[in-house]
Each structure stands twice: as structure tokens, then as C-alpha cells.
Symmetry: C2
Subunit: 293 residues, 2 copies
């Protein structure tokens, strides 16, 4: 690591300290097994630094389940929070939108989703500067009769517990997400993770289809060159790494989860998100909001 | 209706007969309630014509739940089939891919998904001309430890019942769908419906983002005009109406479900799909394949 860093001549060595982490939690490992067996993974070492007060935030592109398990166990959850949830900001036709949960909790209870909505509201207010963020519950139709029993129970839970806490607009459909109809989308981590991965890959697929269309003949090839910069702007709009990592909301301290395939820029932006998170009093506000439920 | 048709001077009046359907099942109505109360909806009238042998196929852009309920009750399911499933063909970076189920059965059992896989295999062989179609089970990771209990149970069910029936490649992730990694994706109707609607709307969103990028300055505006035809080709690739309606697999007779917002072209293509379906012996082959399980 030291040798690698020395290749960057003016890196701020005073501000970077290296820590030894001798074990690796593989992307395919079971989080619970890893939690017990590997005490010297980089995730565990970083969490220990936070516990000791030597670090303030964790940024990890490692095994998501392991990050969730280790931070929950060793840093703890905020008072009142039952489960942590991963929130990600995605681009839409209107303003960026927050989806929670995208993979921390694949078998949640209605209470968990309600708490995610509260956390999403605080995050949207503080980081995305939204007033009264509109919160939607992801379903397969907008009518009350639609959906699985779990979604219907969650809807009733929201109605019974909400009061004036949230600007809850009810069910939204898959098509409403990228149309930008709400500020925050709440769903279970299984559905949220699949939505996220479908969206990522479809963005790439469409860009590739367009590239193929454009390179089909010589005339198009010259147009294609002219378009290069325009496509770059578009890609930036669709590039999740631009938005930085995804905060794991509900944990004590700050925990930012980056994509397993993060570029250097994505890691830089994840660190920026951690810094922004620390600058705002999001965790305090989440605790205050939860006290009102 | 007669007046409307007469506006098309050379419509083939010998081949179109109008039937009276005095009631409408609204898109927001509960299918079960509609099934009991409305005996003269267009869906019910069409199904009656099939029962009487006066029609061979149903094409409907109406309330999907009502179509599933009415066809299941009044036409019946194929021998051995426990639940009908909606299959839709979507474009990918490689060949088009079939997803089943996208909304007929939001609370399935593992057996239902296994039967969907069998039906998808037959459809992919006969209509999409695939040899040994690759079948994937949609999950949030490729490792056996990942996923909800339902997905894990379904995976075990596939392993125990499959034998050599299916070319089952195991779990696939959301990102594999549009990359074209498999011929058929199997999932529950809740997740499938959300994937479909996210994909539809993201296609529109990206096209719109691109249009905005292109019209940002005068230079781009002229390039934009040149690109018009290229974008049209791309849109055709992403336009579900090009692929026609979605077959409701597992029902006796032929039932094609079209999008609630279908254009005239989409309805035309849905009728084409019904005709193709009738020309192949898909239902017979599904029954034969299910006998081997």
C-alpha cells in the first residue's frame, strides 16, 4: 500500500494512515459466518477504529451483508431503530430520488419500512434539500386492493402510525420511480436490490444499443464523434458513482456502502458523501424523529 | 363501434363481428368482486365466445387480474398446471428474453415457479426458436446463500425436481436480464411486475434525457435531426408494443394480455402473437412436458 501511494507524488500523507487488515471477506461469503470467523478483515478493522474513536466514518466497497452485520453488532443501531437500511440516490427525469432499502434487509417487517421512511425523510431534507419530501411505498398498482399481504400490511401500518410525520403519498408503481414522481421510495431490500441492478444494467444496455445504432454506417460514425460529449453528459446523469456511495441509515456513526465494482471516482464520491453526512446532524435528527412515532 | 369502423373504408367487415358487452371492469376494481358482479364485461363476453367455440383466442388490454381470474375460472387451466403466469418477451443486448411471471401470481409457491419454467422453456423453443433455453431464477446474488427463504426454497425445488427437463443455470441477478445472459427469467409476479415497469419507464427516461442533451444548443439541434431515424430504431428495440402482448401461459385456449396503454400497433401485434401461439402446439407441448415432472 505504501509503495502504491508513493507513486502519487503529492498525496497528503499526513492525512492518510494505513491500518493492517490481514483477512478478506469474500463477496460470496455468508456475512454471519464471516462475522464470527474473520476478526481481521478490513471491515472489522475499520469498525474497530471507529469504536476506539480514531475514525468517524466507514466507507466500504466490500461484502454488503458483512458491512451491515459488523456495523450493527459492533457499532450498534441508533436508539429506536430496529434495522439498518441502505439508501441510494438515483437520477430521475425530475430531481434525484432516494430508494430505501436496496439490500440490507430482505425480509423486513412493516415497522422496519416505516422507520426507513422516517430516515429517508430526514436524509432527503438535509442532504437533498427537499421540503416535505414525498414518500411512496413501492407496489404493483396504486389501488389499495393491489399487492402482496406484506405490502398491504405495511400500507396500513403507515396509515395508523404516520399522523403528520411523513408526507406519505401511498403506493407508487415501478414506472413512477424514474419519472421522478416522489422524493423517496420505500421497499423491501429484495425488491430494492433487484430494481437497482435492473436500472444499472438497463442504463448500460441502452447506451450500448445507441452506440451500435450510431456506428451502423459511415455517415453515422461522424455524427457519433460529434455526439461523444453529449453522451458523456447523459452517462454522468445515469452514473451511480457520480452520486457516491449509499449510506447505511440507522447505524450509530457513519457508514457508506460503495458499489463492489467502484472506480476511483466512485470511492472519492463515497468519501464525499461520508463527509456531507458528518457535517449534517442526520443521525441526531433521525433519533428525534423516531421519538415522535 | 360500427360507426367507428366505417371510418376505415376498406376494413375487412366479413372478418370482424361485434359483440355487445354492456359492463366495464375498471382498472382499479378487485378482480374477484368483478368476477362475481359483472357478467357482461368485454372480458367475460369474449371468454363466453371461446367456451361456445365461436372464438379461439382472447386478446385483452383490460384489468389483468380480472383476465387471469375469469379465464382461470371459465376456461380452466391446462392439465397439471396449478396457476397461470404472464410471460413477456423483452429486448436485451443479445437475444430477446422471456420473463415469467410479470403479475398474474404475486404470492406463488415454488411449484408454481417450476411450472412457469417448464412453460417458458416450451414457449422459448417454439416461438423464440431457442435450443435448450437457459433458465435463470431471479435473485439478489448468484451464491446459494443469498436471497429470501422463498427464493431458496424455490431453488431447492428446481434442483430436486428438474432432472434433465430444464437447462436450469441457477440464480441470476437483476443486471443479467438486460445483458441477455439467459433465455428465460423466472420470478414471482410481484417482483416481475416491478422489473417490467421500471424497465419500461427507464427506457422512456433515458430517451428523454438524451433528447434534452441533444437539444441543448443549436449545433446539437441539427445533429439531433440527423439522429432522428437512429433513435427511432433504438426506440423500436425498447418498445414492448413491437413485441406484442404477453401470453397468459397455463390456461386452456389462448389468452394474450396487452398493456393497458396499448396503441393500435400494440393491439395489432397482440393479435399477431395470438395467431402465432395458435399455429404452434404450445399448449399441447406444455401438457406433455408437465407429465414428465
Amino acid at each position: 500500500m505504501e509503495k502504491e501511494l508513493e507513486r502519487y507524488h503529492n498525496y497528503p500523507y499526513q492525512r492518510i494512515s494505513l491500518q493492517i487488515a490481514e483477512e478478506v471477506i469474500g463477496m460470496e461469503e455468508s456475512p454471519v459466518a464471516a462475522l464470527k470467523r474473520k476478526r481481521n478483515s478490513s471491515i472489522q478493522v475499520a469498525v474497530n477504529l471507529i469504536k476506539e474513536g480514531r475514525a468517524e466514518a466507514l466507507v466500504s466497497a466490500g461484502n454488503t451483508g458483512a458491512v451491515v452485520a459488523i456495523t450493527t453488532l459492533h457499532l450498534g443501531l441508533l436508539p429506536g431503530v430496529e434495522r439498518a437500511g441502505i439508501a441510494i440516490v438515483i437520477p430521475t427525469l425530475k430531481d434525484p430520488c432516494l430508494i430505501i432499502d436496496v439490500g440490507a434487509n430482505i425480509n423486513p417487517r412493516p415497522l422496519h419500512l416505516f422507520q426507513y421512511a422516517i430516515m429517508a425523510k430526514v436524509y432527503a431534507e438535509q442532504i437533498l434539500q427537499r421540503e416535505k419530501p414525498r414518500i411512496g411505498l413501492l407496489n404493483i398498482g396504486e389501488e389499495e386492493s393491489k399487492g402482496t399481504n406484506f405490502v398491504k400490511e405495511t400500507f396500513s401500518f403507515f396509515k395508523s402510525r404516520n399522523g403528520n410525520l411523513l408526507n406519505f403519498i401511498g403506493y407508487i408503481e415501478g414506472r413512477d420511480i424514474f419519472a421522478g414522481e416522489v422524493d423517496c421510495v420505500v421497499c423491501d431490500g429484495f425488491v430494492g436490490n433487484i430494481v437497482l441492478k435492473v436500472a444499472e444494467s438497463l442504463g448500460e444496455t441502452i447506451t450500448e444499443m445507441l452506440r451500435r445504432e450510431l456506428s451502423r454506417n459511415i455517415f453515422s460514425k461522424s455524427v457519433s464523434l460529434l455526439l461523444k460529449n453529449r453522451l458523456k453528459n447523459l452517462k454522468k446523469n445515469l452514473d451511480y458513482s457520480e452520486y457516491g456511495g449509499a449510506p447505511l441509515l440507522g447505524t450509530q456513526k457513519i457508514c457508506i456502502i460503495a458499489h463492489g465494482a467502484s472506480s476511483a471516482k466512485a470511492i472519492k464520491n463515497a468519501i464525499r458523501v461520508a463527509k456531507e453526512f458528518g457535517g449534517h446532524r442526520i443521525n441526531n435528527n433521525i433519533v428525534e424523529a423516531l421519538k415522535k412515532c
